[in-house]
Symmetry: C2
Subunit: 329 residues, 2 copies
Amino acid sequence: MTQRHHVIAIGNALVDVITTAEPVFLADRGIAKGSMRLIGADEAETLYTAMGPGREISGGSAANTVAGMAALGARPMFVGRVADDQLGRVFAHDIRAAGVDFVTPASTGGAPTGRCLIVVTPDGDRTMNTYLGACQELAEADLDPGMVAAADILYLEGYLWDPPAPRAAMKKAIQVARANNTKVALTLSDVFCVEGYRADFQALLAEHVDLVFGNEHEVCSLYQTDNLDVAMAELARHSCTAVITRSAAGAVVIEGGRHHVVAAEPAARVLDTTGAGDLFAGGFMAAMVEGRSLPDCARVGCIAAAEVISHYGARPEADLKALVKARLG
Amino acid sequence: MTQRHHVIAIGNALVDVITTAEPVFLADRGIAKGSMRLIGADEAETLYTAMGPGREISGGSAANTVAGMAALGARPMFVGRVADDQLGRVFAHDIRAAGVDFVTPASTGGAPTGRCLIVVTPDGDRTMNTYLGACQELAEADLDPGMVAAADILYLEGYLWDPPAPRAAMKKAIQVARANNTKVALTLSDVFCVEGYRADFQALLAEHVDLVFGNEHEVCSLYQTDNLDVAMAELARHSCTAVITRSAAGAVVIEGGRHHVVAAEPAARVLDTTGAGDLFAGGFMAAMVEGRSLPDCARVGCIAAAEVISHYGARPEADLKALVKARLG
């Protein structure tokens, strides 16, 4: 008998290659500090050659999110494509070892497993250069509709709206979720995603999404405004719950015309901000499936985010359950 | 024109896969905590499956040593074999990015790149399970005799005395070094190496080695004694310089009948002791090629070792040059 999952997440299956550098390393290459951009195989090679020694740690936005959920006791499944190569085996090992169900078959003969070349500057800011590789080959056939129908939440990574085959898989998953009372959650992922798919994302929020995550820049970009209040007013018009992360300023949850403001969790140190938003979403949803209040969901999100920025890598290292218990009971 | 190197190191080209676990994880599998052992492909697979999420960071004992030397301003070359696969490219990238010359061609069609599955327990102790893979395919033909002849030091990793082809390469390198006034340095690597090759290592020390590194357990095993004083007296009979590392008790340098005792460097924290001995040797030799006194060579070794045990992974992360300058000028 297959167990029901709290969340089915569809996202990029990436291994992060993390290095440190001074901001001039980025400036010299015309790379905007703090951004995420997609790069091809050739640029991935050139940039990797120029980078300092790395550490490889499994990543991927939605994959980080569900790793955080599993650490908090939820039962997640991840759907995403790796290739049948060493980095693909690293990804599959790590996500399973984190307690996440992962059964998407690895592709053979195509592009290698995707990777994200991450440059962390001394201020903890991360600049991500993503070579999607096999991630783009995720297809509708990789989705088990029965699993989506049985889950509490379908979680979609905005980044994966870009390549066509995974987008089709996500559209199908949304259909199944809507027909089966599975909540649909979406992360806006990045300003470049919002810029590229503004109309799609607006339509999703208006019609299909129950829960949306975004940072200030992403929600402002969604409504083409510089004023967060304007963006929040737009979000409040939808029936979905909107969660806006504001880094050190904490988070705002908008639901049914009400705003809940939650302060950020003090971080022991900020070494590498990679995964902060991912782990916030993971903490939020893990608390949600436990039936906690919306402000407490945001608090658990802040606790998970504070843990992940205290070390290199975007997957939790400390005992998140114990951290939450110590703070919220 | 090819540049002369301060050191040519011959060693295992490994990528470390680092995970954390409680000691019971090792006890349940009959693995001696703190040990290094060689494992085959099947056991590597089984153990990896059982391990928690990992982080992949380039390792290999002599490779770590020369990465430390490069960080301290020396010009090292590393000789070791990876396969033409993703982990092999990770190893090659990282060691070159660390400032080490590395030109050994990758093997194709044979075993994959070697890896070391490292379980770090909460006390910072590391237990290493090494799948040698392509490392064992290093051969005499991979050695450039002219490079060995021109170098200050030939550094040999004891671990690599085990597989026959690399041992033959090391024997050839010793010949070239002896004929060309290149110092021969050897690390005893591990008690299992000493137990397996005690006669070979004793003969090397008596006839060919100018500088030997070992910890207390290794030098005691070399002379089959429980008494470090007995082992030190045996070492003092040879004309070589012997350097004994004693963890928190610092190091002892024996040369020409004299003992120099150096205290350990206080470590900010002990997170993962992997690479402590490797970085000690790297610091020692980097100071030696700069012409520092033997006690100062040991002090630089202690500074480099203290840095590497403060974080996961066996390659330096902080600015070793600055650390040494701050302590010793």
